[in-house]
């Protein structure tokens, strides 16, 4: 097991009577891309702001490589960097000045900062916008300026809060590739998102957070597997299947449910990819010809629904 | 078009500015605080240091000054409307208004009047303060002060609109407004009678044609006629003509600019 880079311990954050984070416990390992999945208002951003020492926890703590955010804030801030959900810039700023200042704060010399900023800005198609006022930029361009800060900083723990919101599809893929590259260069990545595709493409492990509490934790496939009968195996067969064979098929593949009509078997199972072979084997042995096979996995949206009782869209509305 | 329809349109345009009144309560509180400090601290102290002799003897500088302070606040509040017009230009709200079935002249006059009424309403608490301190107990005098203040505020809004339509940039407009606020108030009879300005010719002639001087001295003439007799910027009849003429000129310029400058699209 890798080192724990971020350890969240019994974390509680209250704003007046509202509990934004409720007794959260999490370990995030060095070198992984960790996804925090949850709708807006679920407590993701509050958790991230505590990790970055912007908010103080009401109780509990977060340790970054053993350093407490409450007691060793100055050290923690040297290890952590964040690209905020809402780009942080005043309208009189321009992207180049903003990034130059950020680079200097995180330790670059002026010359070094200029070089790295130009590279990153060109990679993200920001160079032509470098002298414009932030107020003149589109939402997507502002977002790119925000995430560029972390690609310049390369912190030990890089936190992206909804990094590709407002970005077009091509830029999204480019940003995902850059986030993965950042991890390959040695950063541990935390990505907060409510975009299922983003979580699935990027995250090694995912925590589902809803109403401030941790609902589930694991790799994307582990989470999907936790939905009882989450995979659907669909088999098209030529012959009619006797009831006895259906029964033994159900037992062999441990199906939660099996429908059979008009030559189509639909079986609801766990770990569907393993069960396909068993099902084909049983049917073949009983001289039943299988014409086609398909496996449908549950989506992360199904996972979210299973653990929270709400679709991500509904959660967002709440 | 029906005259009733024109009046209805005019009232609706006026309402555009009036409905925003509640939004500026903190701004109003700030201006009021500024005014009170000028009247209760600055005015009282400076009055102890100043000695001005008019044809009828020494002037009560405190009474003289607080009217100036009121006009200065009314002036800066009215000129601020220009800033609002530029913001509306930048936000596309003027384009929206131009697309409405309202005649251009109704729009120009309505915005000037609406802005003037709004600025005047803001200034009412301050007007009450000076009326109370000066002990103006004639209703007609109070109404005359209010009427001239309203005419002046609408003229200034018309002027500010014209400047905003020419400049079309909130940054540059802020520079101009800041500078004009500083210069026009000081180069007027707000702080000193016109005779005191005569020691520097250029200042004197600017004050002589400065509308701020005319409203300030007009109110002084209405509220404390015995104190300012012989030291106003001009004869009362001329002051009235000047103020009304200024109002007409600024409305016309706003109308002309709205017609010529805006049509064809606003671009930045």
């Amino acid at each position: 097991m890798s080192n724990v880079a971020v350890k969240i311990i019994n974390l509680v954050k209250k704003f007046g009577n509202v509990t934004a984070v409720n007794n959260l416990n999490l370990d995030i390992y060095e070198g992984e891309i960790f996804g925090l999945l949850g709708p807006n208002g679920s407590g993701k951003t509050t958790t991230l702001l505590i990790i970055t020492t912007v908010y103080k926890p009401t109780s509990g703590d977060v340790e970054i490589y053993g350093y407490s955010v409450t007691r060793h804030g100055d050290i923690v801030r040297r290890l952590v960097g964040i690209a905020f959900q809402e780009p942080k810039a005043l309208w009189v700023d321009n992207p180049y000045e903003l990034l130059l200042w950020h680079a200097m704060v995180v330790g670059y010399s002026v010359i070094g900062a200029r070089r790295v900023i130009r590279d990153i800005m060109e990679e993200l198609d920001l160079w032509e916008h470098r002298g414009k006022f932030i107020s003149e930029l589109s939402g997507g361009t502002r977002k790119k300026v925000e995430i560029a800060k972390l690609f310049i900083q390369k912190p030990k723990i890089a936190i992206f809060d909804e990094p590709t919101a407002q970005l077009d599809v091509t830029t999204k893929h480019r940003v995902w590739d850059k986030i993965k590259a950042l991890r390959d260069e040695g950063s541990t990545i935390i990505v907060a998102t409510n975009d299922m595709l983003e979580a699935e493409r990027l995250a090694d492990r995912i925590a589902i957070i809803h109403k401030g509490t941790l609902k589930a934790l694991g790799t994307p496939s582990e989470l999907k597997d936790r939905i009882p009968g989450g995979d659907i195996i669909e088999l098209r067969v030529d012959n009619r299947i006797p009831d006895g064979i259906v029964k033994s098929l159900i037992e062999a593949i441990e199906a939660r449910k099996l429908d059979y009509s008009d030559g189509v078997i639909r079986a609801y199972v766990n770990r569907g990819e393993e069960k396909i072979a068993i099902a084909i084997d049983i049917l073949s042995r009983n001289n039943i010809k299988v014409r086609s096979v398909s496996l449908k996995e549950p989506t992360l949206d199904d996972v979210f629904f299973y653990f929270t009782g709400a679709r991500l869209e509904e959660g967002r509305i709440q | 078009m029906d005259i009733r329809e024109d009046i209805r349109a005019l009232l609706l345009v006026i309402l555009w500015d009036i409905r925003k009144l509640g939004r500026y309560k903190f701004f109003l509180a700030m201006r009021f605080a500024w005014f009170l400090l000028q009247v209760l601290v600055f005015g009282l102290l400076v009055a102890k240091m100043v000695s001005i002799r008019g044809p009828l003897g020494v002037i009560d500088y405190y009474k003289f000054y607080i009217i100036g302070a009121y006009v200065a606040v009314l002036f800066s509040m009215s000129m601020l409307r220009g800033h609002e017009i530029v913001e509306e230009l930048e936000d596309g709200l003027i384009d929206y208004q131009l697309s409405l079935p309202i005649k251009r002249r109704i729009l120009a006059i309505g915005r000037a009047l609406g802005g003037g009424i709004a600025s005047f309403i803001y200034s009412i608490p301050m007007m009450i303060v000076i009326v109370l301190i000066l002990g103006v107990n004639s209703i007609s005098a109070v109404l005359a002060i209010a009427l001239f203040s309203l005419i002046f505020a609408s003229s200034l809004v018309g002027l500010a609109m014209s400047i905003a339509l020419i400049i079309r940039s909130s940054d540059r407009l802020d520079i101009l407004m800041g500078i004009s606020d500083s210069l026009l108030v000081r180069l007027s009879t707000v702080f000193y009678p016109i005779i005191a300005l005569s020691s520097i010719a250029i200042y004197y002639y600017i004050a002589k044609i400065n509308p701020v001087s005319y409203l300030t001295d007009m109110i002084r003439y209405i509220a404390t006629p015995e104190d300012v007799s012989g030291i106003t910027v001009s004869d009362p009849h001329i002051m009235v003509v000047f103020l009304v003429g200024f109002a007409i000129a600024s409305m016309l310029s706003a109308l002309l600019l709205l017609d010529k400058r805006i049509e064809g699209g606003y671009s930045r």
């Binding site: 020492t53 | 400076v46 102890k48 000695s51 800041g178």
Partner: protein, 258 residues
């Protein structure tokens, strides 16, 4: 541990922004110059000479201290804008200590005040007199103290009140009170004559009044009638600075982080 490099970088950012509000600065410069070259010149003719021998020379040092005060006070507006856009979250997440952050902001307030005040000091040298080296040192330290204390006060106000409109109102109100309840426009003796003793004490001990008297002592001593000790004035200003910088820093650090 406080790193001067970080403080410089933070102050640099604030200064960069200072120039972006050039239109606002232009208005401020115009007002200060108009106060001096229009208001004071005309007033000189109507102010009783037994009270103020020459109003132009009386007001000029006051304008120098008001200019430093106004420029330093702008830092509070900046802090308010940052709060409005949650920009302070970004600042709080960066690798510097809270103390470095507040120190950077106060330093920027000082530099803003200096930059803005320099032309007025040069003007004083031109119209009044050239100070000795020791006098110049006193001028510089007075400016540092005034700007440090006023920027801290402005920062404190900006982080103290939650509602941003209310905050702007309070900041303006404090500004107006400091501005009018000072000896910039009138001699302290007049205040004593007109108002109760408590107001007089407030005016005399207002940091802007203290700074103004110091500048007057150096550039235009002939306009002051009151007796004073320059050492006591510097000590008073130092105490004000210590109190306001400490209060401002503590409040800023405490109130920024929720």
């Amino acid at each position: 541990m406080i790193y001067p490099r970080i403080i410089t970088i933070i102050a640099y950012r604030d200064l960069q922004r200072f120039w972006k509000y050039k239109w606002w600065l232009a208005g401020l410069v115009a007002m200060n110059l108009a106060d001096l070259f229009i208001f004071a010149l005309i007033f000189r003719g109507i102010v009783r000479r037994d009270i103020v021998p020459d109003y132009f020379y009386f007001l000029a040092p006051g304008i120098a201290s008001i200019s430093a005060f106004a420029a330093a006070f702008t830092i509070g507006r900046e802090v308010m804008m940052e709060l409005r856009r949650a920009f302070h979250h970004y600042l709080l997440s960066l690798p510097f200590s809270r103390l470095e952050l507040v120190a950077g902001r106060v330093v920027s307030g000082i530099v803003r005040g200096f930059i803005y005040q320099i032309p007025f000091i040069i003007l004083l040298i031109v119209i009044a007199k050239t100070p000795s080296f020791l006098d110049l040192l006193i001028v510089v330290s007075t400016t540092i103290m005034v700007t440090a204390s006023m920027s801290s006060l402005s920062i404190a106000i900006s982080t103290l009140v939650k509602s941003l409109e209310f905050q702007a109102t309070i900041r303006s109100l404090v500004y107006f009170i400091i501005f009018f309840m000072s000896n910039v426009f009138y001699p302290e003796s007049i205040v004593r004559l007109r108002f109760p003793e408590i107001i007089y004490i407030m005016v005399v001990n207002n940091p802007i009044s203290i700074a103004t008297t110091i500048y007057r002592d150096i550039f235009t001593p002939h306009v002051i009638h009151e007796t004073y000790s320059i050492e006591v004035l510097i000590a008073k200003l130092a105490i004000w600075t210590a109190i306001l910088v400490a209060t401002g820093s503590i409040l800023y650090m405490r109130n920024l982080q929720r």
